[in-house]
Symmetry: C2
Subunit: 304 residues, 2 copies
């Protein structure tokens, strides 16, 4: 498995069906987990997909519609029952306080960890989180209420050590960290071994963009250009283009159009309206514009 | 199918597992639905069990632990999306307002129906709801926070008309309602046909009692005596009797003891701790005191 994977926990829309769960995704990046949206049932789907709760430290909420955040109270309660002590940060619009503070007051008295809130402005494209592995940026979207997507930009990885060279020069283990950071190696005899003989570069860093919920909105293209993987909502097919417009959602064709114009390497769609029992029509419509579009599906794990 | 059925939607406890869902039950009584508790995922389980949303008018919440009420926001949102116009009543402790009012304010602006609250006192045994078919009473329980169970007492049904007698006397349809209510019939010739020749009695009314979450608490026995079906939580087995005591839960043996002493006709158990992968041990322990205890299970429908 790659070290930057997208786990799709749910890709249905507001009305629940027996075929799809409410929206949630988990980015698994170098052994840390980053959740995007948390619809009802997310914690159960984590169990089903055997995703470990204790590696999760950040939750990003795109907007305050229930199918994107009604799983938060249950997830936080469970983390408390599991004895978590590390804090968890919820990145969302400030209004989430109105919803979550009473939940914390009524149900989470005495949980052994801190819930932090990082209030974000969904109208700005800005850096909202950074750690050793990734920078996360907001992507302003166009929906019925303030909404943003998220761009996950992996940081460059350290180069790989060439094991044979280490053995040949008998380089001590404590030197390896320096070499990974670009230093040359000087042998006991004073010979300088250049760093590029000791290492080979890691894979280039990857980018993942999450865009849901949104109307067709080409203004996002500059923020998501050349991403390795784009998730774009495709609530409707062309048959419902008027409804898509009225509800500030996108069709599969529009999702593909955005992917094409943004030169995304791959596109995965989701947030399917309950009316589509068969998703082939959405895939075919997207494929016409952006071939090999991936149909998002519960349980799917996609290497970014 | 009988006209008084218990649907078990979920019978797990606080920690979610892939084997059990959080607590929820639906009483299906003469074509009306009454929900008891509404853990996360309840609305989805209603879909799976093909239970129709529009026949639901009352929701009873036993206590404010998340595994008994985190499904409410999603359920109410879905009822709104489905275009419901009839009001729905939530029977619960007053503190539920702190949790639900913000949910209604943030997520349910403009839903086309009214959410009514009937604040109940969980420390009193008292009538909290009555309609044509049923009376619902609280049952004070003993848990870590204010908690009550619910007693559903069916109202007497009208007697059945003996079709052959109606045909023989050529009784007009408009007279049947009076006969069902106990009147005799007088023929055109003046002959009095006694009511007991025209009808036979309906089945006697039934009683269902729901008792969760609770420590072993014999004080409830007077309220649940002779019920046709008793649901009593059985979170633990005898191996965890100390933990049961500490957390104000019951063992399967204690549930059976209550059923026996209350002369319940049948007992169904649930609210199983996540530690029991195999529930046979709980059933065996209960059976020793109260034979043929029913193991509650997701999807089970039990005629009361």
């Amino acid at each position: 498995m790659a070290d930057f994977n997208l786990n799709i926990l749910g890709c249905g829309s507001a009305l629940p069906t027996t075929r799809h769960l409410a929206t949630s995704q988990i980015i698994d990046l170098r052994d840390k987990l980053y959740m995007i949206d948390c619809g009802e049932g997310t914690q159960l789907q984590m169990r089903r997909m055997r995703i470990r709760f204790n590696r999760l430290n950040h939750i990003f909420i795109s907007h305050l519609h229930g199918d994107h955040c009604f799983g938060l109270p249950g997830l936080l309660s469970t983390l408390g029952l599991l004895g978590r002590t590390a804090s968890i940060t919820i990145h969302a619009v400030k209004e989430i306080e109105k919803y979550m503070q009473p939940v914390l007051d009524v149900f989470c008295k005495g949980i052994p960890f801190e819930v932090k809130f990082n209030y974000i402005d969904p109208n700005q494209h800005t850096l909202i989180m950074e750690d050793r592995s990734v920078c996360v940026y907001t992507i302003p979207l166009k929906h019925r209420i303030p909404t943003c997507g998220f761009l996950f930009e992996e940081k460059p990885k350290e180069p790989h050590i060439i094991r044979e060279m280490v053995d040949f020069y008998k380089i001590p283990v404590k030197q390896l960290k320096n070499i990974k950071q670009g230093q040359d190696y000087i042998t006991n005899e004073g010979e300088i071994v250049l760093n590029n003989r000791l290492t080979f570069p890691a894979n280039p860093p990857k980018k993942y963009a999450y865009c849901s919920d949104t109307a067709f909105y080409p203004a996002i293209i500059p923020f998501i250009e050349n991403v390795d993987l784009l998730y774009h909502e495709a609530t409707f097919g062309e048959d419902e283009i008027l409804r898509a417009k009225a509800t500030f959602h996108s069709t599969a064709t529009q999702a593909a159009e955005i992917a094409l114009r943004a030169k995304a390497k791959r596109l995965v769609i989701g947030h399917y309206s309950a009316r589509y029992e068969d998703l082939d029509v959405l895939k075919q419509e997207a494929d016409r514009i952006f071939p090999d579009t991936i149909l998002g599906m519960e349980g799917l794990v996609i290497p970014v």
